[in-house]
């Protein structure tokens, strides 16, 4: 089966809305989605909630989610809330 990769740049000021939009788009994706977190220095509780929801939808559709460029501080937050295991990470 052919796979496609979607690449979504996440901006720090709009993490929540970007993730919500990305989540909506997932309905039409397959294969792999890359979330580029290289501009995100800090993540809040609502964004985490959106990320969890994003992971849930991706799981349902068997879409692999790759988080790219997450800072070590953001990565630590994802580890603490036990979300890190649901994504692949590339630096």
């Amino acid at each position: 089966m052919a796979t496609t990769a979607a690449f979504l740049k996440i901006e720090e000021q709009h993490v929540l809305s970007a993730l919500q939009r990305a989540g909506a788009k997932l309905e039409n994706e397959n294969g792999e989605t890359v979330l580029d977190f290289s501009s995100v220095n800090r993540i809040d509780a609502r964004a985490l909630q959106a990320l969890e929801e994003f992971a849930r939808i991706a799981d349902q559709k068997a879409i692999k989610v790759v988080v790219r460029g997450a800072s070590i501080d953001v990565y630590k937050v994802l580890k603490l809330v036990k979300l890190a295991g649901r994504f692949s990470f590339v630096t």
Partner: protein, 890 residues
């Protein structure tokens, strides 16, 4: 929290209590999940973010101090509103003053001189139980401290103080959120129940239980299997000693005991007064508004405020005014009475008022003496007050110190009110808190005033330290032909020359005599030419004492010089226990046994060592070996205080050395240099000596052996031995010496010869990849093979790779040994294989006990020692199989 409530709690809080229902569990899990997310988000916050939020919360707490105090009094019906305002303000302002400049994010403390830094790691989610007695102030305190440390908190207030606590949490939360704190940072359980508490105490995402309350709460927290800070009740003894300022003391006690109607658990419970001032003290209490109970009133009070069944205070009295308590029990007092003072005659169940009383009732005891007072205070301390707080009023420092030593509490408040003093930062420099650690005696993990550092995981960043090293040798070394003439410059009243019979016979003693400073009384002590025995040392010390010698000249080989070193040690420090001084050690600077001459005794005799062999280098070393025939053992002493003051390296004394001795001592010298060169203690200071000695030994040892009269060769070998000894005095030796000591002693093989039998095999062994690396803070990486290669280069032995160079070095040593006509195997010495095999276990044990190998670059395993011993036995060429048990490092 009162003791009676605590007792009730103990009854109420078994951890086996039935759990919450599923809906309640979902609710509790949602609180924890929210708090966990907030805690994770919080890890991204900077110190500036945190400090900004804390400041806003503190201002909110101060703003609402009165409002919260009123709520607390209305809800709990305990304490005094005005005092609760003060408590709320202390919990805000004083705590802020303590924490505001403290770092709690990232690196929080650095210790540059120790290469250490501390880094803060938040705990995460705290589950906090708060008491009825100090409800809102405790909440304010915990919120501020939690935010300062980037933690989140789920509060479970005492049910009878829930509304005021929930309001305090709301005020703190809103202030925090407004200034950027993560959502969900605080929450307060709705209608908390016992099963809720039990469930949360065991929840996997709760990082720490922070339980302020009675023993039940504390016990439940510590029994939950979670890390916990549990701080509980007390029973504060107060000693009013006769030297105290009575007026100040009485005022302070009234302030403390009436503050918030005595609800602070650090407040005074039993006042022990010296007999001499007892009447004056009670008079002062009466003058200042206390009611002094007579015997009948005391009985009435006992029955009214102490539960006869449990022996603890009645809940109805907790936090009530003195006049209300008096009215309730039918005691007639003046309307403005502040405090009820009741005499007691002892401590225990038969003296009901000796327990904790969180209300304005103070028991007083008339002490017959200081000893009696301390005893009664200790009795009170052990009647429910261990670990908590004690108070003393005194100007007598000795009594204050003794009180502090005897009473087991976390806080000993001196000349100030107990309750407010214990809170910290008001009357003293204790850390401000609303949670008193009560130590193990109180079932707690700390005796501290709990504050920010208890809410952090503190990580220690320990950088590798560059340990100080040293290079210590005699401060005067005279060398080359006729160096002995320098003896004349050392004035002496009486000199003892320690030597052996041979030196006397061949006239060396006369040479020395000729050069000793004129007008010196010289006495010659001839000792056997063997390792010194205890008996010989005793004789020498007797001679030194008899003549009151101020100078010792040791003329001879290693044995004579060693004997002189030990005689000097015992002469200067008769109390020195040689057995104890020989105790093993790993690091010279951390050794348990210190040499007396190094620390206590003045220098009484100068030691001048004149070497008459070219090998041991004892004239410059800090070592001495003693044979204790009575106990059948050798004692090795090592300390720089043993190093001779002056060394004379004059080759005229070695010109007549026999060939065999020349070879043996010469190889000993070479082994010293090679082992010091690759030692884990090697430094640039020892390397230059080791390399120079290797070069000199390779060049001049064969000449000195083959042409004993060659003055240059003798001179250079004599220098080489001294230079190599300077290297190993500071870098030590290695496994070669450990093995040589072991089998040399067992089979009576000369030390140099035993070294020679091991040397090629040990070099090959050390040059291989170690099976086990030796821990060493002094070295960077494994370099032994490279150093051997450097020695090969120095000797011009050729080779392209490190491996080839090591092989060439081994081959050159084997060639040298052949030239010196050494036996090349232990077997050649006539030791049978069976005899050797039988000895192996003892040899390995002895070698492993020998301290020499501790500086060896490669950690020797016992199996490897066995292998090395067999190689030496068979004498197989090491050059052809340098790897021993593993391949050579390249």
């Amino acid at each position: 929290m009162s003791v009676i409530e605590a007792v009730q709690e103990t009854i109420k809080i078994p951890l086996t209590a039935e759990g919450p229902n599923p809906e309640r569990i979902a609710y509790l899990d949602s609180l924890v999940s929210r708090a966990r997310t907030a805690a994770a988000v919080f890890t991204q916050y900077s110190q500036e973010d945190v400090d900004r939020i804390v400041r806003a919360m503190v201002l909110a707490g101060l703003e609402q101090a009165q409002y919260l105090a009123r709520l607390a009094v209305e809800e709990t019906r305990l304490g005094i509103m005005e005092d609760k305002v003060i408590k709320n303000m202390v919990a805000s302002e004083f705590v802020y003053n303590y924490v505001k400049d403290k770092r709690t994010v990232g690196i929080i403390r650095e210790f540059p001189d120790r290469n250490l830094a501390e880094i803060a790691e938040p705990i995460g989610v705290l589950f906090s139980l708060t008491p009825i007695t100090n409800p809102t102030s405790t909440v304010l305190f915990k919120c501020i401290v939690a935010i300062k440390t980037r933690n989140t908190v789920i509060f479970s207030p005492h049910p009878k103080a829930w509304r005021c606590c929930a309001e305090a949490v709301r005020i703190m939360y809103e202030a925090a959120i407004k200034h950027g704190a993560p959502e969900g940072v605080f929450s307060c359980l709705e209608s908390p129940t016992l099963p809720d508490n039990v469930y949360l105490m065991k929840h996997k995402d709760i990082g720490l239980i922070d339980a302020t309350g009675g023993p039940g709460v504390v016990k439940a927290a510590y029994s939950s299997g979670k890390p916990a800070l549990g701080v509980g009740p007390g029973n504060t003894p107060v000693y009013l000693e006769k030297s105290a300022d009575v007026n100040n003391a009485v005022v302070d006690i009234i302030i403390s005991k009436t503050f918030d109607n005595g609800t602070i658990c650090a407040s005074e419970q039993t006042l022990v007064i010296d007999d001499e001032i007892y009447d004056a003290v009670l008079q002062k209490f009466a003058e200042l508004g206390a009611h002094l109970c007579n015997e009948k009133e005391t009985r009435l009070l006992e029955r009214g405020v102490i539960d006869p069944q449990t022996g603890f205070m009645q809940p109805m009295a907790v936090g009530q005014k003195a006049t209300d308590i008096a009215r309730f029990i039918g005691l007639s007092v003046k309307p403005n009475t502040k405090l009820l003072v009741a005499p007691i005659q002892g401590v225990g169940r038969e003296h009901p008022l000796s327990v904790e009383k969180l209300f304005p009732v103070l028991a007083v005891y008339r002490a017959k003496s200081v000893a009696d007072a301390l005893k009664v205070c200790l009795d009170v301390n052990h009647a429910g007050g261990i670990g908590h707080t004690a108070v003393i009023f005194s100007r007598n420092e000795e009594v204050i110190r003794k009180f502090g030593e005897v009473i087991n509490v976390g806080r000993i408040i001196v000349n100030s009110p107990g309750a407010i003093g214990a809170l910290g930062a008001v009357y003293n420099d204790l850390v401000p808190t609303f949670a008193f650690g009560c130590g193990t005696g109180g079932g707690n993990s700390t005796t501290d005033n709990v504050n920010i550092y208890h809410y952090l995981n503190i990580k220690r960043l320990a950088r590798r330290t560059q340990n100080h090293m040293w290079f210590r040798v005699p401060n005067q070394i005279y060398f080359n032909m006729n160096a002995v003439e320098n003896l004349g410059q050392f004035p002496s009243r009486c000199t003892i020359v320690v030597t052996n019979p041979a030196m006397e016979q061949i006239g060396h003693v006369d040479i020395v005599r000729r050069h000793i400073c004129p007008k010196t009384h010289v006495h010659v002590l001839v000792i056997p030419d063997a390792e010194p025995e205890v008996k010989v040392i005793r004789q020498g010390v007797e001679a030194l004492n008899f003549y009151k010698a101020d100078q010792i000249i040791a003329l001879g080989g290693g044995s004579v010089i060693d004997a002189a070193k030990i005689m000097k040690l015992q002469y200067e420090s008769p109390e020195a226990d040689l057995e104890e001084l020989a105790a093993p050690f790993l690091d010279l600077r951390k050794r348990v046994v210190q040499y007396p001459t190094a620390t206590e005794k003045a220098h009484r005799a100068r030691l001048i060592a004149i070497a008459t062999t070219s090998g041991t280098g004892s004239e410059v070393t800090p070592f001495a070996v003693l044979t204790d025939k009575e106990r059948g053992r050798k004692v090795t002493l090592a300390d720089y205080s043993l190093t001779p003051d002056v060394a004379i390296v004059d080759p005229q004394f070695v010109m007549s050395m026999p060939k065999g001795l020349t070879a043996d001592t010469g190889i000993d010298c070479l082994t010293h240099a090679l082992e010091a060169g690759v030692s884990n203690y090697a430094s640039p200071y020892t390397d230059c000596n080791a390399m120079q000695a290797i070069q000199l030994a390779f060049k001049y040892l064969p000449i000195a052996y083959e042409k004993p009269g060659d003055e240059e060769a003798r001179c250079m070998m004599h220098n080489a031995a001294c230079i190599a000894a300077m290297a190993f005095s500071n870098a030590s030796v290695g496994v070669n010496h450990a093995l040589a000591h072991a089998f040399g002693a067992r089979f009576g093989i000369a030390h140099g010869r035993a070294n020679a039998l091991m040397l090629p095999h040990v070099i090959a062994y050390n040059a291989a990849v170690p099976t086990k690396f030796m821990p060493s803070p002094y070295t960077q990486g494994y370099v032994a093979h490279k150093k051997y290669a450097a020695f090969a280069d120095l000797l011009g032995l050729g080779g392209e790779t490190v491996e080839q160079k090591v092989e060439n070095l081994v081959a050159a040593i084997e060639k040298l040994l052949d030239r010196l006509e050494f036996p090349r195997s232990i077997a050649e010495l006539g030791i049978s294989k069976e005899e050797f095999e039988k000895a192996i276990p003892d040899l390995v044990k002895a070698a492993f006990d020998d301290p020499s190998w501790r500086s060896n670059p490669r950690m020797p395993l016992m199996t490897e020692l066995v292998e090395l011993l067999w190689k030496a036995y068979h004498g197989r060429s090491a050059a052809k199989s340098p790897g021993t048990t593993s391949q050579c490092v390249v």
